[in-house]
Symmetry: C2
Subunit: 183 residues, 2 copies
């Protein structure tokens, strides 16, 4: 695999941020975990903030793109909902650190980046809301949005538990999310 230094930094920084929080990690920590040391980070990023910003935007973009594509590919609203749930679970299980920082560290972004990430997150939510409301005409937009965000909480809980096998967790979360949304 051809991981550039840049990607390596983003990866290890995400892990460290997930463990100790943005302010709990120093640039020395990040560099050190990459085999380089401290200020070398500035050859690839404008600063520590920039590392977080790039992480969060790339995560949000990826969730959005794949979610949109899988939802479109589905034949029915019901299939689309199932596909969205499966995709989110797949991502959360394979990238727990990214899920953690995406839901916890966006308050540490500077205004510009925060707006961008927020917009991407809202677009992702909207995909879910559209699909859900096609299956539940009793929900108005605000209620549907609340239900979707609650479901994200459910699916994003994996990093905090994870005692059973990945496949068992996968199918259990899928069932729980589906019945929570359609209840």
């Amino acid at each position: 695999m051809t991981t550039t230094r840049r990607e390596q930094i983003l990866d290890t920084a995400a892990t460290l941020f997930a463990e100790r929080g943005f302010h709990g990690v120093s640039v020395h920590d990040i560099g050190s975990a990459c085999g380089i040391s401290g200020p070398a980070l500035y050859k690839h990023f404008a600063g520590k903030d920039d590392v977080l910003t790039q992480s969060l935007t790339s995560i949000s973009q990826r969730l959005l793109d794949e979610g949109r594509s899988r939802s479109r590919a589905a034949g029915s609203p019901d299939a689309a909902l199932g596909a969205l749930i499966a995709w989110h679970i797949e991502f959360a299980l394979s990238h727990p650190a990214l899920i953690v920082i995406q839901e916890r560290e966006w308050a540490n972004l500077r205004v510009e980046g925060r707006r961008e990430v927020r917009a991407l997150q809202l677009a992702y939510i909207d995909i879910w809301v559209d699909v859900l409301r096609r299956l539940r005409d009793d929900l108005d937009a605000a209620e549907a949005r609340a239900a979707v965000q609650a479901t994200f909480g459910l699916l994003n809980s994996t990093p905090h538990s994870a005692r059973i096998s990945a496949t068992a967790m996968q199918s259990r979360l899928w069932t729980m999310a589906r019945s929570a949304l359609l209840a």
Copy 2:
């Protein structure tokens, strides 16, 4: 209301920790938000760590005590589950900052405090697991625990959404949690 300075510090510190994370808040920030300044905090706590520790243990203790009492007071496993869900929602909706730091900042505790908080959290989870397994004999202990933690994720998501009225949110979360657990 008779809020002592000590309680005031715990309260405002919890809010600040929830907003910017433990390392993102200085003792000057905390004191300043209380109308006192900086080192005055040491007249009430052994240090910054101590503030977080006291916060988290008191939160976990309170969740556990009330959860245990409400679960015992219920007439049936089904009623007990409903009561547990209602209690957790009630707490999460009225103390969003406490919910946030309880699920996010326990890694910043020193070993002793971390063990204590972890034990309280596990005891709380066990109450839920016992009730759930009385209703679902198809779940082994590990699966039930995973399901309960996923439900916590769902219920704890309120601080990140909350656009609809409290009562609407309350009943929606209740329904979602119940059907997720019993699916």
